[in-house]
């Protein structure tokens, strides 16, 4: 038992924890996408957990490679930056496009300020 414990290095432990956390987040996001009722809710479930989850997995690869190559490995950090710059924009544009093209929610909203103020002009619904 003690042999097993001492043979696991701190960096390997950290790598495993990050991998597990990332995998869990991506799984939770996938469950959300499968279970939520309409497009707008699914966009929420697809955006945040996949960004954070993939970033966590990339961080795990950075830790692992840095520990095994005896130098700090920066490329995953670059990938994480790219991820954080693009995914939120995609999420927002998807939701906006859906709202403008009049995609209907599963049940009508109890509160819709944008509709009330005629701020967003609806296009004809795309069949």
């Amino acid at each position: 038992m003690t042999e097993i414990l001492t043979s696991v290095s701190l960096s390997d432990l950290l790598t495993s924890l990050l991998l597990l956390a990332g995998a869990f987040l991506i799984l939770a996001g996938a469950i959300g996408v499968a279970r939520f009722a309409d497009f707008f809710s699914r966009v929420h479930a697809a955006g945040v957990p996949s960004t954070v989850g993939v970033a966590t997995v990339l961080a795990a690869s950075a830790v692992y490679l840095s520990a095994h190559m005896d130098q700090v490995f920066w490329k995953p950090i670059l990938a994480i930056t790219g991820l954080f710059l693009t995914v939120p924009l995609g999420t927002e544009m998807l939701a906006r496009a859906a709202y403008i093209t009049n995609v209907k929610p599963a049940e009508s909203y109890q509160r819709d300020d944008a509709e009330e103020r005629h701020a967003v002009e609806h296009k004809e619904a795309v069949e």
Binding site: F24, L25, A28, G29, I31, G32, R35, F36, A37, D38, F40, S41, V43, H44, A45, G47, V48, P49, T51, V52, G53, F84, P88, L89, T91, E92, A95, R96, Y99, P105, Y109, Q110, R111, D112, D113, A114, E115, R117, A119, V120
Partner: protein
Amino acid sequence: MWQQLPIHILLTLGWMALWGSSAWWHAAAGAVVGGAILYALTKGTGQPFYLKRVAALVKFVIVFLWELIMAANFVVRISTAPKPRHRPGIVALPLRLKTDATITALTHLLSLTPGAVPIGISPDRSEIFIHCLDLNELEAVRASKERFEDLLLEVTQ
């Protein structure tokens, strides 16, 4: 404001040259001494001290990472709840930011906060429309929006 950065670097290099050493502790001491000199100079000329802006930026990143963890936690909680009982809706919140760049940054940050995806701003830029996953959590969305707005104002003005 940002022209203070090269001056700071020059002061640090000058300090290291005086000691004739490139050791990191001399660089660190030089940075501290250079910062003190710059701070005294900005007091004299009334310019804002650039390190204050840097501190605001660091605080910004920390708050952002914290919000991100809360966002992941929130979505995991809602998507694995035995009976989904969230009430989605679209709310309009007042917008204090005025420039294109800061509004873009705010919408970008908001789509990473718990249960909020911005879908547009009003034509006169006085309100931002946000799709909330759960209207019961509206206060949390409002609080994050206020916090990000404060930080963006602090960093840019």
